[in-house]
């Protein structure tokens, strides 16, 4: 249960693994205003990071991990 697809955003929670990258990609592409909530995200796989960097969804909430947050901000 790593990604919850809500009305306005996808909430990435806990540990998001490589398998989730595919569905996230498709979901984000279908959204008019793609957004993700990372407030409860502990870890995510490199493939998932790649998706976020490639598709640039809006960041509703940054992850607690400062490194990840910085990377997402800087991109």
């Amino acid at each position: 249960m790593a990604i919850r697809y809500l009305k306005k955003h996808a909430a990435l929670e806990g540990s998001v693994s490589v398998d989730d990258a595919e569905s996230l990609t498709q979901w984000l592409q279908r959204q008019p205003a793609p957004a993700v909530h990372l407030g409860k995200c502990e870890h995510l796989h490199g493939a998932v990071l790649q998706v976020l960097l490639a598709l640039r969804p809006k960041l509703v909430a940054a992850p607690a991990d400062p490194l990840l947050a910085a990377v997402l901000r800087g991109a």
């Binding site: 592409q29 407030g39 796989h45 490199g46 790649q50 607690a64 991990d65 910085a70 991109a75």
Partner: protein, 791 residues
């Protein structure tokens, strides 16, 4: 504890290491491919080298380091063991022993040792290296990664890192990591790898190629890795190489400034990382100690990050790390740390890494207006462990591990002394009891004293026995050095000899074992010199070319038996007889009557020597009489058996301990003397009329047998005749010497007593006729006789 004690400990352990090295070298010679032996050997050298490093013993360390490098190659099979190697090592160890002697004497190594130590070190290094002498100091070796590229000119990608950051960390390493496209399919996670790199200061992730736009997106494959990662780290290059060891070809390192190879870096390799850049900048306190403290604390903090970032962390590690973090915060003790410390316990394990990183980077708050962290963490740490001891690490032998204490000899001797004094002191209690009764008419008191004496007596005996057990040494302690002796001498003589040692764990009292050394060496030399034949002679005789000398020790009731046997030429009874007659040691007719076995015993006669030339090895052609005397001094005996052409066996019989000796105290010519009770057959008074004189010899008849009589005064060169009592009787102490009873004429008998026999020391040590001295209850010293030597 002071420096002297530490030095003493160093010397003790150093000598132990050298001993172990010597023994192992010989073992390895016999079994050069035994990995365990090689590792053991290496370990001893390694330990000694390590210990040298604690002090400033450079010359010694230099030699040991060379030995260590040499042995490391041998144990890893990149170098073969050889006799040449062994010789060089033995030489080096002999040299090391001399240096250790110097250290023991004066606490330091003499000046000028440097030159010689270099010679020895080079001799060792020459065996594996055509280039001589690597530096003595420990040089951190970079992890060998053939494809490591370290560029010096500033690459383009470096620009992605903030200039200010680079300036703030001039010695940091920049890394560019370009994961291969298919890495996701290989199960790799480059983000994880990069974000867990040690000493992270900064991390940037971009797309290698432009990200898809518009229509491209639909067709985009999210599993083709397009990440381009650049990071800056304060960790040493080697640490980073280790971290990225699985993908060396995908990683490039850059160091803005070349990092000098530290010669001897006692601290952790990571460079100082400020716990928080703000705190340091704002810190106007120019106290260098404070700064050092913060730097080191920051370093350790970064280490905890690296630790927490690892997968498979156990609950124990997390618990310990929390304590560590608390410790670091308490030590830094500034406002920020106090806040952090208050927060720490509330941070769930799953968030810990992030929190720790946060403290380190300490930029603006990274949490946007997000609801507070969910106290119920998604990942639960493992439940607390059952408090059961895993079987794994327990002693594999199943039993309770053997606890060993190393105690200095002096302390044991002191303990023995004190117990000895107590034994003697307790002996006065019966006298006191008697006095209480006789002089002071205190019967009750007397009885009580006697009862208490019995209790103290038993305890004292137990104590004595216990301490004597402590003083028991294994005979192996003496046998140890024989391996080397046999090896060296046999090589010199061109003979091939195997030394077999059995029963080295057999124990005997220290005072018995130590004097054994010289006689055993004599025996071995004789065996090597005259016993074992050269390979040619042996082969001609149908024997294996290699001779065998066997030393076997075992305990039999209250004796320790040590057997030294060889399969050499044996003793030739014909030659022995002839020699003895020639030397005038025995009349010819007597000699002819002796059986072969008895003839062989003639070698024990003083002045006997079986070789015409005095071999330089055996010195004066050491005779067996010297050996026999030395053994007799410790109340032991020697037995010789030999078969001409087959071999020789010498059996030494020694007392198990120099325990309490029961002695009969006698008086003669006004002197008090002790005679060991176990030699005494009986005490009797003989009328002068019953004493027969024959030439110079006095005899009497006791129980139907003729007993020769000797006046003790005469034996002790005391100028007095034995005193007769009122009835005209002389006191005769009948002792058993060898197979014979001999009567000693003394003046008075004074009763038996338990004493602790102290062997004669120092100037008196050479005195014959005495077994030692003992301290009496009245403070006087009792001279205890060794009747065997007297007669």
């Amino acid at each position: 504890m002071n420096q002297t004690e530490l030095l003493e400990q160093f010397v003790i352990e150093a000598r132990e290491c050298l001993e172990a090295i010597g023994a192992r070298l010989l073992d390895v010679e016999r079994d050069p491919t035994n990995q365990e032996l090689l590792n053991d050997l290496f370990r001893s050298v390694h330990t000694l080298k390590g210990n040298c490093g604690l002090f400033d013993f450079k010359p010694l360390e230099r030699v040991m380091h060379a030995g260590e490098d040499l042995l490391d190659r041998v144990r890893h099979r990149t170098l073969d063991y050889s006799g040449e190697l062994a010789d060089a090592l033995l030489d080096a160890m002999d040299y090391a022993a001399r240096l250790i002697d110097q250290i023991e004497r004066s606490g330091r190594i003499d000046d000028g040792a440097d030159a010689q130590s270099i010679v020895h070190a080079q001799a060792l290094r020459a065996l594996f290296d055509s280039v001589t002498a690597a530096p003595v100091a420990v040089v951190p070796a970079a992890a060998a990664a053939p494809a490591v590229a370290v560029s010096q000119a500033a690459p383009d990608w470096l620009a992605r890192l903030e200039a200010a950051l680079l300036a703030a960390h001039p010695a940091a390493t920049a890394v560019r990591y370009l994961p291969e496209e298919g890495c996701f399919f290989k199960g790799e996670d480059p983000w994880r790898l990069a974000s867990t790199a040690p000493g992270l200061l900064a991390l940037h992730v971009d797309g290698r190629q432009a990200w898809p736009e518009g229509d491209e997106r639909a067709a985009w494959d999210c599993y083709q890795c397009n990440l381009d990662i650049v990071l800056l780290s304060s960790a040493a290059c080697a640490a980073l190489e280790q971290h990225f060891r699985c993908v060396p070809e995908q990683v490039v390192y850059h160091q803005p400034q070349p990092q000098p190879q530290p010669e001897h870096q006692p601290e952790h390799q990571a460079l100082p990382l400020p716990l928080s850049t703000e705190a340091l900048d704002a810190d106007t306190d120019s106290d260098p100690a404070q700064a050092t403290l913060r730097q080191r604390a920051a370093q350790l903090w970064a280490d905890q990050c690296a630790l927490l970032a690892r997968s498979g962390l156990s609950a124990g590690t997390v618990q310990a790390t929390r304590k560590t973090l608390h410790g670091l915060l308490a030590a830094v003790d500034d406002a920020a740390s106090k806040v952090a410390s208050a927060e720490l316990d509330a941070v769930p394990d799953a968030r810990l890494l992030a929190w720790v990183r946060q403290q380190a980077l300490q930029d603006q708050s990274l949490l946007a207006d997000d609801p507070a962290a969910d106290p119920a963490a998604v990942l639960q740490p493992a439940d607390s462990m059952v408090s059961e001891l895993p079987q794994r690490f327990e002693d594999s032998s199943g039993g309770h591990p053997h606890k060993v204490l190393k105690v200095s000899q002096e302390k044991i001797d002191r303990l023995m002394e004190l117990i000895g004094e107590m034994v003697v002191a307790k002996n006065s209690l019966p006298y006191l009891a008697q006095r209480a009764e006789d002089v002071f008419q205190q019967r009750e008191l007397s009885r009580e004293i006697k009862a208490q004496y019995a209790v103290i007596n038993r305890i004292a005996e137990d104590m004595q026995h216990a301490v004597l057990q402590v003083r028991m040494l294994p005979v192996g302690a003496v046998f140890q050095r024989f391996g080397r002796l046999v090896r060296d001498i046999s090589r010199k003589l061109g003979k091939d000899v195997n030394l077999v040692i059995e029963g080295e764990d057999t124990e005997a009292d220290k005072n018995v074992i130590e004097p054994l050394s010289d006689p055993l060496i004599h025996i071995l030399r004789n065996s090597l010199d005259h016993g074992i034949e050269t390979p040619d002679v042996r082969r001609a005789a149908g024997k294996p070319a290699a001779g065998t000398i066997r030393i076997a020790a075992r305990q039999e009731s209250d004796r320790v038996l040590i057997e030294i046997s060889d399969d050499g030429a044996g003793v030739n009874p014909v030659r022995v007889r002839a020699k003895a007659v020639e030397r005038g040691l025995i009349p010819a007719d007597r000699a002819a009557l002796l059986s072969d076995d008895d003839a062989v015993q003639l070698v024990f006669l003083p002045g006997f020597s079986t070789v015409d030339t005095i071999s330089d090895l055996s010195g004066r052609g050491v005779g067996m009489d010297v050996v026999r005397t030395a053994i007799a001094r410790i109340n032991g005996g020697v037995d010789l058996r030999s078969v001409h052409g087959k071999g020789t066996t010498l059996t030494l019989s020694l007392p198990l301990s120099m325990a309490v000796t029961n002695v009969m105290i006698v008086e003669s010519a006004g002197r008090r003397l002790g005679v060991p009770m176990d030699l005494i057959v009986e005490t009797v008074r003989v009328h002068t009329d019953d004493i027969h004189h024959f030439k110079q010899v006095r005899t009497t008849v006791l129980r139907g047998r003729i007993v020769p009589l000797r006046a003790l005064n005469e034996l002790l060169a005391l100028d007095a005749e034995p005193l007769a009592n009122e009835q005209g009787e002389l006191a005769v102490l009948v002792v058993r010497i060898g197979n014979q009873n001999v009567g000693l004429l003394v003046d008075h008998f004074q009763g038996a007593s338990d004493i602790i026999l102290k062997p004669l020391e120092g100037v008196l040590a050479g005195l014959t006729g005495f077994a030692g001295t003992a301290l009496m209850g009245d403070g006087g010293v009792l001279m205890v006789l060794n009747p065997k030597e007297l007669l």
